[in-house]
Symmetry: C2
Subunit: 712 residues, 2 copies
């Protein structure tokens, strides 16, 4: 990394002189568009401001910390020194949306000494990028501070008005809410938090929202607030002051009401503000990844982005069940005959995966315990090594190996994390013995240790322990119901994806996800990292499984295809049942073809809550894939394919909504067309209500160039 | 076991008829001395009473349960059935005070149906022994109750007056208090709980005391209240109503205030009332053991009662230290030169043990982490597998093996139990790899999971998990700072001993244990199981280690010897330093000789708070050992040796306080005498203030019978 000491020494010197008047300091992003202002008031308080192209993004906002132990509020400071530097490096992620990422920022380190007499020293480290600002608190080793307990973090984000906001309620345990779109002053987390279909949720303030928080200002700025590198610290919610529009950090407490137990040297996560006047640039930002630590996996050769099918959707739609016996407690297992994870059924999925080049088969409900796993705060639930009698681990290991397919392990913890931690080593050894190298974890329900929360420090440490321990076993990880991601997949690239939001599964048994859902997810949840959203549902109306079933998926079939491109993840499920794909193999071809790792990504069009169009170039190949999705509005776009190589013709295979398609009334109607295109093509996209388009763009062979019709 | 259906069917039939008046039922102990009365009032409430030889022990006392979930109070019942039976069996403990134990009781099972409309059924099971009464609540499998949460147990023990009571304050986290002796109405747990030297304590009620609670009534009854088989449930404290003398059960809560999470079938621990008009019979009671489940260790051949020395007392008196580097945090270990657990020092202990037939050498402070282990609620403290650089695990394994000695592992958890549970399997595998087959655990500090308590259900389950898991690895267990024992060493005989009270160590660095301490411990803490009290201190005045040290042990040297007999444990430490023993090898001979497992035990004289004299016959041998101890009062006894075989002469080696000995002013003065004795001998014992006498009684050889003087 190229790091240079900055030359505004003069200004810095002025800043640190004993202040008889407020002192301020300014630093600009490398491109000059973003300006960070630091204010040191005569009373010792420190504040910051952020501007974008001259517009205020964050007005004067307070910084500080309140400790429980030692009992001290860090709000008034002397500033004995300020350090500054510039960094510019380019690094290569193990996998990602682009094959290399530039990390270019100016850094300012405020070295602060508490004025209250505690003798405590801390730093606030600011990094100003072209796409936003990150800052964190740092507590270096020092004689006056060793162990300490955080009571409250006093960080503020003062936005400049009653912005349009895409939000879910603040909560200590879940992020599986539907998104709301209101101005800040209309946020009401209490009514929204009533969602009945979420197993464990802990409401705390009607004005609280979660991050990533996406806002749009009246003067056209897109502002995203989140955090990066959430390690050894609780997650941050934001509480809105509806008169001042100050968003106040609110950390998730532990079982006794404390926020974090730290020991010097310690740092908080980075608080991130991504800003642009173009929505597409928000989606293209790599700021959060850049603020995370480089990979700790020395040899990542075993980490492989992949697709999977699985004994999964059939469980959610009620065709089969996780449990083997009657859904009740008791030691005797009497099969009820509807068990999904049978040897025979898994073989069916293996066969389908093998035939279609799908690498993985997820199997849920394979292990004993599902008769009495849910909702009782029960500690000894699963053991992660005892299969049901109709699931033959050895036979399936051999069968999968013979077909070149990997079975993916499922560890539902029932949120009994003390129990899972006791079993983890044994469970991972079991996996390796039986040829599994990926695991999907689950944390449904109230956490044990009782009183802890999904998003508190103890669980944040647990999720990281799982990342580390799975890495040590060379196991890839997909976590469900964890804390929202903050870019830790850079540090632990075996952490392929997580849920941490309202996934496609909600369409199976609740009011579901409205058509706008995915267009908001891209700007919120996905800012922190890839999501295992489980796209690819072909049977949209679920009464086809069961005539009494009223639920449906709230997209067209083609939008399900588009999600493989618009919702980036190195782990993608083809979530529907093999028989539903076999009925529409022409459409399934896109799922077979689409890549899961990329050299390059272009965000072509985007507006939160409305639409996203992205194009991505498959890693190491000349093939591109384009996805376009809309909310409940039909939309037409004309999209330049200028990202294509200028010297090539491409065959565009276009999977589009039929002209009469509609997510509600005619969701499965699709048209597949092939045309010759090139970098000068202006591609016309017509998205149905709740619809989408998926396009694969492969260099044309000479034969194809001759016979396939040029696009109009 | 011989079990017979009792014949009071007629009376039972009367009891369960629909009640227009209070109904009562009576059951007697096999010897007729104890009478249990059950009352079913017309309002549905159930109460019990206990009488001993016609005197009231427990007056009318309520029974019941309050659940948090489902939200129901179980206080009014119908009684659809009553079952009764008699049992008489004799069983052999793996080790113990006697080689066989008779379990003889009459049992009454009240089958109750909640009257409040919940449909919940439960049972209260009473067992009446010749030495007391035990009862428990039982929740059989049923359609109206599966998972449930206990809010409060409504059990009462109404004693009949303002009894003299030997008590320590009720607490959720510690039992290491000094004992108080007052009448019930004078109990003040708030002032007593202020002991500064205890790392984690949680006071909750000034009228609360712990069990085993020892009382003596004005009419001469000795009454001991405790519990047996504390499994999957929190420990019970007792809150005194000072006007009615009703003792109300108070369960230790969890992090969110609940008491216990249960699922049918479920039972509570047994509530035990041991009663006699002879104090000696309290000490001889096997009621608590009889109420525990038989051994779950199928092959206990590897479980061996034993003695140990250790790198331990030198740590407590400050001669050396647990930590290797400066006592502070930081990653660099720079030796300070006072580390106790060095390879060379451990070899010294191994040599001493080997030379003197001591089987074990405990080593504390062998593993990295002691620089920053205490008092910070820190989670990642020790890893249990990383030795300090000056502790050579392999070399010591070989050296100990060559000397026929076993090193005993030490696992201080710092009460970070989540951390220990993550490490347990790895730590036990490490032990077995390096030849360790016994572990001493420690739980100093506040529990993690934060908000849980040492004596709550979560920790009770942890301690049992450790018993089970160590058993599965064939590891013997000695737990320090656990919940008070309740006879579980019957079920898990690898659980040799525990601390769970104020041990000898307090004499090293606090005001210490007053001379009466051990005479109370026998009637309180030891009722639940063996204690690792660490007797055998020969250097009584600790200024011999360090001239500035004002602390001292509050006994004479001879009382330290007597403790090996009066304080039963299958694990006994010779706690002092080898050099202190080597200076007095004539007195150390008793420690070498004394057994740790017994065929028979006679409690010869006893009064709580005053004195205990016991004699025990070594397992499989003709040798007896006698121990006598007193409080601060000098005492003379004349004790019959009628327990000796009538056809033999014995050599009595008597280790007694010198005539001018005194715990305070002349504690180390002792006299050793040998006499010929037999079963007709009336042995005169003269105990100094804070003193004691230890006697070994070995069958005399012909030569000895000729030359050793007959006792006068």
């Amino acid at each position: 990394m190229w790091v240079k000491k900055l030359l505004f020494v003069f200004l810095v010197t002025g800043f640190i002189q004993t202040a008889y008047a407020d002192q301020s300091l300014t630093i600009y992003s490398p491109d000059g568009n973003i300006q960070l202002g630091i204010l040191h008031r005569t009373d010792g308080s420190i504040a910051y401001q952020v501007f974008y192209k001259g517009k205020t993004v964050i007005a004067t906002s307070g910084l500080g910390m309140k400790f429980k132990s030692p009992d001290v509020s860090l709000t008034k400071f002397d500033v004995p020194a300020v350090d500054s530097s510039v960094a510019d490096e380019t690094w290569k992620p193990v996998w990602g949306e682009t094959s290399s990422i530039r990390n270019n920022y100016k850094q300012l380190v405020l070295k602060l000494a508490d004025r209250s007499g505690s003798g405590i020293q801390l730093q606030i480290i600011f990094r100003v990028f072209n796409d936003g600002v990150g800052f964190r608190y740092s507590f270096p080793p020092q004689s006056k501070l060793n162990h300490f307990i955080i009571a409250n973090e006093l960080t503020q984000f003062a936005v400049t008005g009653d912005h349009k906001t895409f939000w879910i309620p603040g909560d200590y345990d879940t992020n599986e809410f539907k998104y709301n779109t209101t101005v800040l002053s209309q946020v009401d987390a209490s009514s929204s938090a009533m969602s009945q279909e979420i197993a464990a949720k802990t409401f705390f303030d009607k004005n609280a929202v979660q991050t990533p928080l996406m806002m749009k200002s009246a003067d056209g700025l897109y502002i995203n607030i989140h955090e990066a590198a959430l390690v050894n610290y609780p997650a941050m919610n934001l509480v809105i002051d509806k008169s001042s529009f100050i968003l106040q950090a609110h950390l998730v407490p532990d079982a006794v009401g404390n926020k974090a137990y730290l020991q010097t040297p310690a740092v908080t996560p980075w608080r991130t503000i991504i800003v642009s006047d173009k929505a597409t640039e928000i989606l293209a930002s790599k700021l959060i990844l850049n603020l995370n630590e480089p990979s700790k996996v020395a040899d990542p050769s075993w980490i492989k982005p992949h697709k999977m099918v699985g004994v999964w959707w059939e469980l959610h739609v009620g065709k089969s069940s996780w449990d083997y016996a009657a859904t009740q407690s008791g030691s005797t297992l009497v099969a009820h005959g509807r068990h999904g994870a049978t040897t025979a059924n898994v073989k069916k999925y293996i066969d389908f995966a093998s035939k279609n080049g799908i690498e993985g088969v997820l199997v849920e409900g394979w292990n004993v315990g599902w008769e009495d796993w849910f909702g009782q705060w029960k500690e000894d639930v699963f053991d992660f090594v005892t299969p049901y009698p109709d699931f033959d681990v050895k036979e399936l290991q051999q069968y999968a190996a013979s077909k070149g397919v990997k079975i993916i392990m499922h560890h539902e913890t029932s949120a009994s994390v003390t129990n899972y931690e006791r079993w983890m080593d044994t469970a991972y050894r079991f996996m390796k013995n039986y040829g599994y190298d990926a695991v999907k974890t689950g944390y449904v329900g109230r956490i044990i240790p009782r009183g802890e929360h999904h998003d508190g420090q103890w669980m944040v440490k647990h999720y990281e322990r799982v990342m580390k321990k799975t890495a040590s076993y060379k196991i890839m990880l997909d976590a469900h119901e964890p804390v929202r991601p903050t870019g830790l997949h850079r540090t632990y690239p075996n952490f392929l994806a997580c849920e941490a939001a309202r996934g496609n599964e909600f369409n199976a048994w609740s009011e579901g996800n409205p058509p706008e859902h995915e267009t908001i997810l891209a700007f919120t949840r996905l800012m922190g990292g890839p999501m295992d959203y489980t796209p690819g549902l072909f049977r949209i109306k679920l009464n086809q499984f069961d005539s009494t079933k009223k639920e449906q998926v709230h997209t067209t079939l083609c939008k399900q295809l588009a999600l493989y491109v618009t919702m980036y993840s190195p782990l993608q499920m083809a979530a529907d049942l093999p028989e539903n794909y076999e009925a529409k193999m022409d459409a399934f071809q896109f799922i077979k073809d689409v890549a899961v790792d990329w050299d390059d990504t272009k965000i072509l069009e985007a507006e939160p809550g409305d639409y996203v169009i992205s194009a991505r170039k498959a890693k190491g190949k000349e093939t591109w894939f384009l996805g376009a999705m809309t909310d409940e509005q039909p939309r037409n776009f004309t999209t330049s394919l200028s990202f294509l190589a200028t010297d090539k013709k491409y065959v565009a295979t276009i999977y589009r909504d039929a002209d009469n398609a509609d997510w509600k009334n005619n969701p499965e109607a699709y048209v597949i067309e092939k045309f010759l295109v090139d970098s000068k093509t202006m591609l016309k996209l017509k998205l149905a209500p709740g619809g989408g388009t998926a396009v694969s763009l492969a260099p044309a062979t000479a034969e194809e160039a001759k016979h396939i019709k040029k696009i109009k």
